[in-house]
Symmetry: C2
Subunit: 152 residues, 2 copies
DNA sequence: ATTACTGCAAAAGATTTGCACTAGG
DNA sequence: CCTAGTGCAAATCTTTTGCAGTAAT
């Protein structure tokens, strides 16, 4: 059975890039997680296993993977840091601007949308970022009003 | 006739915020332009008219406008700077990662998509970012191959 | 008159870069 | 071997912050 990690590895090889343990670890993390980590999160997550890992290497690898279109850069989730998505299939991302978590949302409609854009725009598409911002159900309970201050 | 600028002004007033010349100028720019400027671009554009304008004020105002949902923050267009969109109607943004320009693309489909997300996600939606990345027709001619280096 | 807003300069953070060393192929 | 990739530290660049002065209401 071919895992998503295998595809990452294969793509790196095909591009003539070296498969270092650091790259493998980062690929495995991104291929496996449903999270949408930032560079720092990846660094923190792998540090225990690779104590010598450098944040610069994480950024390097993320750039490489974005170039190869293996992952997408989603932009900030209200925390001023780039979040990365290991899932490049057309789908929706939902970011909570309070807890800064990002979740995926399947939507067949998006698939069609992407094809439509590719067909009609004249652009050579290289990536997508379909992201909605808001408050997740939990954070809505925690912070009931956004525009008004708490009742005095 | 009520202009888009008027709506900006009205919304600021309703929120109990002061209508300073700086804010007015920034609102007018965002309400008028089809561009998707960064803070720096706005600063540069208004500097001739408001020589005392501060970049900090631009950032301040942009934050205010995003909070009031008058504009959307689109994230980077390959230039590591936040681009702002004065048009909050559901639509698609197309960014060229070579010339860093962002254009709008109407797509009735997106309207439906947003409603669908709002209805099914349980999230309290506050903003959207439907962005596709690629090479615009002009930049495709300028840089025909992205993956291969120029012929030696 | 109040106090929100501005402008400046300094600070904070995220990301990038230069360079010597290491290791994948 | 050979050079791509790593790790470190310093640099860069965008965005934020603290604060005193200014001006909108």
């Amino acid at each position: 059975m071919i895992t998503r990690t295998d595809i990452f590895v294969q793509t790196l090889r095909q591009a003539g890039l070296r498969l270092t343990p650091q790259r493998l670890a980062i690929c495995r993390l991104l291929a496996t997680t449903a999270r949408h980590p930032t560079a720092q999160m990846i660094y923190d997550a792998l540090r225990p296993e690779y104590p010598s890992l450098s944040l610069a290497t994480v950024y390097n690898t993320l750039d490489v993977l974005v170039q190869l279109n293996m992952i997408h850069a989603l932009g900030s989730a209200g925390d001023d840091a780039e979040h990365y998505d290991g899932n490049t299939d057309p789908h929706i991302n939902l970011a909570c601007i309070s807890c800064h978590r990002v979740i995926d949302l399947e939507a067949p409609r998006v698939q069609t949308l992407e094809e439509e854009v590719a067909a009609n725009s004249g652009y050579h598409l290289l990536g997508a970022r379909v992201m909605y911002y808001g408050l997740c159900p939990e954070c809505q309970q925690r912070v009931p009003q956004t525009t008004e201050p708490a009742t005095p």
